[in-house]
């Protein structure tokens, strides 16, 4: 795609996600590298906030891109790529939970390393705050947590989250509203009833 920049010079703008995914669908699978570079950090952080485990989150990102390759034939280019991508992300996470249930649960809650990192004195307070937000987030139901993370961090609109989950936009909004209220309450409790 070519456009002109402010100086009027022709330059190449990055291709839209769906154009690239369409090429992947048509057999140019190496183009998936562009989408990987665009989204893997964002997806990693999404899974990390969801599972609290770094290794699991990396596995899930890898699993997600493998699924994109496997199911590329089912991609419809008229939809927004990220909606499809997060649909697959959600499925990958659900399958992971199911598998974990069958096996003995490994670790519960946040990576020990995440909370045990040694912090300088002045960062201690922020570190504790982060740990409390994570714990409060963990107390939410999976549905509330997932939807809240999608709207807060993944740049998805309520309408898009509704499309992704196959539900009404109104119900997404209600869930976000309730999730925030609960999160605030849990955070307050974890801080020992002291607001900061």
């Amino acid at each position: 795609m070519k456009t002109k920049d402010e100086q009027g010079n022709a330059r190449v703008t990055p291709h839209a996600d769906n154009e690239i995914m369409q090429e992947v669908k048509d057999g140019k699978v190496e183009k998936l590298a562009i989408l990987f570079e665009r989204y893997h950090v964002m997806l990693y952080n999404f899974f990390l906030r969801l599972t609290g485990n770094r290794n699991v989150s990396e596995d899930l990102v890898q699993d997600l891109f493998l699924r994109i390759l496997k199911y590329r034939a089912s991609y419809q280019s008229h939809g927004k790529f990220t909606i499809w991508m997060y649909q697959i992300a959600r499925n990958a996470h659900i399958d992971y939970l199911r598998k974990q249930k069958d096996e003995a649960p490994l670790e519960q809650g946040w990576d020990q390393a995440l909370s045990r990192e040694r912090l300088p004195e002045e960062e201690l307070e922020t570190g504790q705050e982060i740990a409390r937000v994570r714990q409060a987030l963990d107390k939410l139901s999976l549905k509330k947590k997932g939807i809240l993370l999608l709207s807060r961090f993944q740049n998805l609109k309520y309408r898009e989250i509704a499309e992704l989950l196959g539900c009404q936009e109104g119900s997404v909004k209600t869930t976000v509203h309730r999730a925030l209220k609960e999160l605030g309450k849990f955070y307050f409790e974890l801080s020992g009833g002291i607001t900061s």
């Binding site: 990693y44 509203h177 955070y187």
Partner: protein, 271 residues
């Protein structure tokens, strides 16, 4: 609007999805209703609080694993694909070498025209051929060099890739072409273009300028893929002077462990 209706709009307010009219309505209501004000404040505090969660970087192995998976998948696809028909093969070949941009399409047409006219002329003029064939050959070579040079300077990575692959058809490159290839290897922002440059330079590895450039480039590369491919090339052409550069590379603490292993192995082969 009553409190219930206003409440439903609060989450739109937080993400900025509310239109200006709704925002005004909400603000007007808040000015008069303390309980709604409190509700929005608590939601907004929780929303902001989530912002303390830091964005983390995944480990390097995620990227390595992804590219290995992609490569394996590509290989399986290739094996599954039936051999294409002759017609398809030809069309694919033409498509691969046919430039996308009109100006290069024009240059290529001109090149073909020169070849055609020259060939016809030579066929007709029969005997005084040899010298003119040599001359024509030189002209074609020059045109190719010019074309690859201008392609290498394009802003689109795919144009630069075509530029790199075109150099493989040049028999004896000018030092300007070699320089352009080396500088592509050193500083092209796209790793795929740099990788292609490594392959292209293999053909010219008998040139001292190229060997020198390859050794020096080793310390400038950051992508593990390019590093490995460059090390392979240096071993392949048995360039002993690269040993020093390899030793330095191994000392780099941030070096990707696979590259390090490759470099250590290469060092043994070179010494």
């Amino acid at each position: 609007m009553n409190c219930k209706k206003i409440n439903e709009k609060f989450v739109d307010f937080l993400t900025g999805e509310a239109d200006p009219k709704t925002r005004q309505e909400i603000q007007a209501h808040l000015a008069a209703c303390a309980s709604c004000r409190e509700e929005l404040e608590s939601l907004s505090a929780a929303w902001t609080k989530l912002g303390v969660l830091p964005e983390e970087q995944p480990s390097n192995s995620l990227r390595t694993r992804f590219y290995t998976m992609l490569e394996t998948y590509k290989q399986t696809l290739k094996q599954e694909k039936p051999a294409p028909g002759l017609k398809k093969l030809f069309a694919g070949w033409v498509e691969r070498f046919w430039p996308r941009q009109p100006v290069f399409q024009f240059a290529l047409s001109l090149l073909l025209l020169v070849i055609g006219l020259g060939g016809g002329y030579l066929l007709n003029s029969g005997k005084r051929g040899t010298q003119e064939i040599v001359q024509l050959h030189e002209e074609v070579q020059n045109l190719r060099q010019e074309m690859s040079l201008s392609l290498l300077n394009q802003s689109s990575p795919s144009a630069r890739l075509s530029g790199v692959s075109l150099t493989s058809q040049i028999k004896s490159p000018s030092s300007k072409t070699v320089e352009a290839l080396l500088s592509t290897l050193d500083s092209d922002p796209n790793a795929n273009v740099r990788l292609a440059a490594v392959d292209a330079l293999y053909l010219f590895s008998s040139y001292p300028q190229v060997r020198e450039g390859l050794i020096q480039s080793l310390s400038r590369q950051t992508s593990p893929l390019v590093q490995v491919s460059l090390i392979n090339l240096l071993i392949e052409i048995r360039e002993r002077r690269a040993a020093e550069a390899l030793k330095q590379l191994i000392q780099d603490e941030k070096l990707n462990p696979e590259v390090k292993q490759k470099a250590e192995l290469g060092l043994q082969q070179l010494i």
